[in-house]
Symmetry: C2
Subunit: 450 residues, 2 copies
């Protein structure tokens, strides 16, 4: 069997245990008609299995960062596992995926780990891992428009990275994008990416849940396509992160993957990628997962403490890790299933812990956003507790670009985040402009350098 797209198939399937109704990926549908349950994309694994594991690896390796369209994209280098039916002319890519796996070797040594790698998903077109899913969603919309489906626009309710990614990919494709957000809660600065990309940004006089209700209403009229995370096309792009990490480690599975979690779609995607690789023989074991939550928004941690026998949503408190300030995660069922299968644990980070961990990483050359700070703090706590052992190999998923969080960084170093480690604060040192004063200060500073 050869690697031509028409031999592979994928479709939507209802995730309800007993329903299983299927839909074409070309239909405008987000949840099942029968049960209202979310859909997920199901691949025809039997046809994928006709290609050997070695051939898949060789194919993915030869495509990685290739100059040939669409393989500059880490997502589309795996297109048979993502959206096998798409025509290449409808692929909307901005070079997402293929982000650097940062080898924090000096930090690993200090921690006694066998390896510490930071997957830099924030160093991407719109500055977050959301690009991975959005290229898939917008490409499929372009395909549907080409096939005659009368879609006029794509829409989401979001105040952050999702709206930035949607607006940018839609602008690339020339498809109008609509963003809903709560009035008076978000500044132009926070929304400046979608504003710059020409999205129609509507500030509604309601809260975020009200915005979600409106976007669901508006997209019932099928000419406006829903891009929020209940649309499972995005997961198909996000799952390639597992394949990329493994590929970048020379097809070796790390001992641990640490990932920050709010709505929990990303950990489901991570799990799907690894399970698909195992099913198709590319790997023979699964990594363990540390799901990291901000303590102020940690319903899954509470559930983990009960052995996942019970889950209760909470009212999320304010956290610096704003993208995971979620008390009632959409993808909790899938996430628990993944964590059980991957011998996962859940760990929490307080505001001080996430801030200090982000700053600690910066001293090894990183520039971490607060969500990565949550993941790093969870890792440090897991090492301290002996859960993560000396010599083990760990990958931390960094979900967003630190350049989006200047205020967080400034507040940390200006001592405005209560309870953080004073020793790690760095400040600009005033100095007279003459050589002897400069050398005197440098003498002291260099003697103190750690």
């Amino acid at each position: 069997m050869s690697l031509t797209k028409n031999e592979f198939r994928a479709q939507f399937r209802c995730t309800h245990e007993t329903c299983g109704k299927t839909y074409s990926l070309g239909e405008v549908v987000y949840s099942c008609e029968n049960e209202g349950e979310l859909l997920s994309v199901e691949h025809d694994l039997e046809s994928l299995k006709k290609i050997s594991a070695k051939e898949w690896k060789d194919t993915f390796d030869s495509r990685f960062r290739s100059q040939k369209f669409p393989y500059q994209s880490g997502v589309w280098g795996k297109k048979e596992w993502v959206l096998p039916g798409i025509s290449e002319e409808n692929i909307v890519t901005s070079g997402e995926g293929g982000s650097h796996l940062y080898d924090a070797s000096r930090w690993a040594k200090d921690l006694g780990l066998g390896g510490l790698y930071i997957k830099q998903c924030g160093i991407s077109h719109t500055g977050s891992f959301k690009d991975l899913g959005m290229t898939v969603l917008v490409s499929q919309v372009k395909q549907m428009i080409a096939d005659g489906v009368p879609i006029r626009a794509v829409a989401c309710a979001s105040t952050g990275d999702t709206s930035a990614a949607l607006a940018s990919y839609a602008a690339k494709a020339g498809i109008p994008a609509i963003i809903f957000l709560p009035a008076n809660k978000v500044s132009t600065a926070q929304l400046i990416q979608p504003v710059s990309n020409g999205a129609k940004v509507l500030a509604l006089d309601t809260d975020f849940d009200g915005c979600m209700a409106i976007v669901k209403e508006v997209t019932k009229e099928k000419s406006i396509y829903l891009a929020n995370s209940m649309n499972s096309l995005r997961i198909e792009g996000q799952k390639t992160i597992s394949i990329e990490i493994t590929q970048q480690l020379g097809w070796e599975v790390p001992d641990w993957i640490v990932i920050p979690g709010g709505n929990l779609g990303n950990v489901s995607a991570l799990g799907m990628g690894f399970e698909m690789m195992k099913e198709l023989g590319l790997i023979d074991r699964l990594p363990r997962i540390i799901l990291a939550q901000a303590k102020n928004a940690s319903p899954l941690y509470d559930s983990f403490k009960t052995g996942f026998t019970n889950f209760q949503s909470v009212t999320a408190q304010k956290t610096l890790a704003s993208a995971i300030q979620i008390g009632d995660p959409v993808s909790v069922k899938k996430a628990i299933r993944v964590l059980k299968k991957f011998e996962g644990i859940v760990e929490v980070a307080t505001e001080e812990e996430l801030s200090d961990a982000a700053a600690r990483g910066d001293l090894y050359g990183l520039y971490n956003d607060p969500h990565t700070g949550v993941a790093l703090a969870a890792l440090l706590k897991s090492i301290d507790r002996g859960e993560v052992k000396k010599g083990e190999k760990v990958v931390v998923i960094s979900t967003a670009n630190g350049l989006k969080f200047t205020e967080f960084k400034v507040n940390y170093h200006e001592g405005k985040i209560p309870g953080t480690n004073r020793e790690m604060k760095n400040s600009i040192l005033p100095c007279p402009a003459n050589l002897s004063s400069v050398l005197e200060i440098l003498g002291k500073e260099l003697a103190n350098h750690k």
Copy 2:
């Protein structure tokens, strides 16, 4: 001849026409003892020529996609052309290079071009093209320390991208970094990257020239190594941008390269990369170059108007493109030589033109910083004038990440940059939270969508 590092050689050579004194790359030296002229890195082209052009291309291509250290870096994939003598254990890489060549196909079509590609150098570890050069400089310093040279720290005078890159790479390597900047002229927010990376940041009670004078004084004591752009090691990393662009176009040379210019080191580096490829047979022609300056800081444009017969430095006026607000460029001689050889032209952009061009690009899915705005404006003017012709293929070099310029973007869309195109401003639309109001607004907006 095989591709093992010891068969290739590079050294510093004085750039003075009649001097030509050479120095080892392992010496702490920035300018010639005889003439005080800057040095440049000279490669032994005869040994490089013993490898065929095809073999170089195949090698570069196979490394570009590689997961193997140090080839995750676009710079170190070309190590024989960059720093052939370095030991791999001393390479300090954060995955610089390999940035996406963004295919702005929709914009190219609207402009009648045969192709318009944006080289996304700002989507990189510290958010600017400076990473390309800094990996080389910091790696060479690590090599020298390993070889017993008593270097205690690296230092530069910079208020922007250079200090961010230096601090990050030094932190990765565990080498102290020192940054000098003028007191009271720069906020913590502007310097937050090096502050976060633990650099010793000294605010001197002088202006920027005073800081440069101090850094030169301090680095005369050879235990502190100078990282400013008179250190020609950085150019060696930056020149790989030419090779990468050509490689990403399938080893095809574009008709035009557009690059913003202030100190003009980047256009020299660009030229060196193309000349080296031509000399070694990888390409058979050179692209033309458009060097784009902000009108408020355009001494090279004035010189171009005299056919480069005359060059006079100017006092640079304030420009939004702050990194190229330079009236007395360090690398002007090299830049003029390159522009003559590449049939280059110089074009200027006013504050309005650079702002509008950046915003125009955003409507095609980009998120441009003001320097990229200068380059895009220069391109649009060159097309209007008929200099760049229909059907030609153009690459624009984007030097920094738009996420560093939130204020610029907000000011543009809030109408605070005088004289800009009102039609391109986008704003957040207030709307009552009910379906009929939303549909009414969307009806109008979608009808107006361009």
